[in-house]
């Protein structure tokens, strides 16, 4: 997973991402008085942002390399399935990660 970007690029991303995140956080705290609330259309869209972004982030990590059963049954997919089951039951990050890691290593041992 090592990146091939050099330190200047990485730091530029960190600073830009940090400034943008701070601007989001400060937005209405700073503006309040001039803007009373989030525009309704934006609020409606924001409701679906977590589900959409997280799914888009995570799906390629678990997608099979080709459309065959052998290619699909990877340790990563089985670990991910264990994690989803744990997340469903516990809604807890710790248990979800634990179940996923155990699932991954059990599947690597068995497959």
């Amino acid at each position: 997973m090592a990146t091939s970007y050099g330190p200047p690029s990485i730091w530029a991303v960190i600073v830009a991402a940090g400034l943008a995140t701070f601007a989001i956080r400060l937005s209405f705290i700073h503006l309040f008085g001039r803007v009373e609330e989030v525009p309704p259309w934006l609020e409606r869209a924001l409701v679906y942002v977590p589900a959409a972004v997280l799914a888009a982030l995570v799906a390629p990590d678990f997608a099979p390399a080709s459309a065959t059963v052998e290619a699909a049954l990877t340790p990563e997919l089985l670990g991910g399935a264990a994690a989803v089951a744990a997340a469903w039951r516990t809604e807890d990050v710790l248990w979800t990660v634990a179940a996923g890691m155990i699932g991954l290593h059990v599947a690597r041992f068995l497959l």
Partner: protein
């Protein structure tokens, strides 16, 4: 605890303690993930201070995504905080610009949820000048533990052999946040559409499939909601909020 601290600050620290169970493993993962140098990883934690977006940035940098896509993804992941900012702003309006900026930097899912619950129940106008104390008690506790957890993760992660596959914890954390975010039919549609488009678009340049997938997912959620599919008026946006139920 030191009784010289303002009572509201102490209350905030006390109320934040149960949340640390959820924060610590998340922070450890944010520190463990290889790819960046230890200083860069800690710098990301201090400068951005938003867990899911930090993991997304590390993940995308590891895939050599275009730098603009990395920053844009962080923005999209953190956009939900616009709502928190708007919602909590009335309680901070008496504060100086400098204190408001500090409060904004510390804004997180958990600090927002706890502080708003307290402020909404607090009708006493006289306390308005003390308002940031409770918020700061929660938010600063979370900040300190988050940074400490990241540092421990960096130190610990460097000592762990690659065969343990600790990096796999990153997509697992995303799953842990995704599952509760899928609370009704429109949010399920949003997730399925976004995931499918991201997989199909995985070959697009600059990892643009991620952004296109997210946009298609949000549009799908809105469209399904507009057609009245399974509308339960649930909080589809509360997925990354371990403070629920407190």
């Amino acid at each position: 605890m030191d009784s010289r601290l303002p009572p509201d600050l102490r209350d905030g620290i006390r109320d934040a303690l149960p949340l640390l169970l959820g924060i610590v493993p998340f922070a450890l993962v944010a520190g463990v993930e290889a790819g960046l140098t230890p200083l860069q990883t800690i710098g990301l934690s201090v400068v951005v201070f938003a867990g899911a977006s930090q993991l997304a940035a590390i993940d995308l940098l590891g895939r050599d995504a275009a730098l603009g896509v990395v920053v844009l993804t962080v923005v999209v992941v953190n956009l939900r905080m616009l709502m928190y900012s708007a919602s909590i702003a009335p309680y901070f309006r008496e504060l100086s610009a400098r204190v408001r900026a500090g409060c904004a930097y510390l804004l997180t899912d958990q600090a927002y949820a706890l502080a708003l619950a307290r402020y909404v129940g607090d009708r006493d106008r006289e306390t308005s000048t003390r308002r940031p104390h409770y918020y700061l008690g929660v938010a600063l506790t979370l900040w300190i533990v988050w940074q400490a957890g990241t540092v421990v993760g960096v130190v610990f992660g460097a000592a762990v052999p690659d065969s343990w596959r600790l990096g796999f914890a990153v997509p697992l954390v995303f799953l842990a946040l995704l599952v509760p975010a899928v609370s009704d039919a429109p949010s399920l549609g949003a997730a399925v559409a976004a995931g499918a488009v991201a997989v199909v678009g995985a070959g697009l340049p600059f990892n643009a499939g991620l952004i296109v997938g997210a946009v298609v997912g949000v549009a799908t959620g809105i469209a399904l909601e507009g057609r009245g599919v399974g509308s339960t008026d649930g909080d589809g946006g509360g997925g990354s909020d371990p403070a629920e139920g407190h």
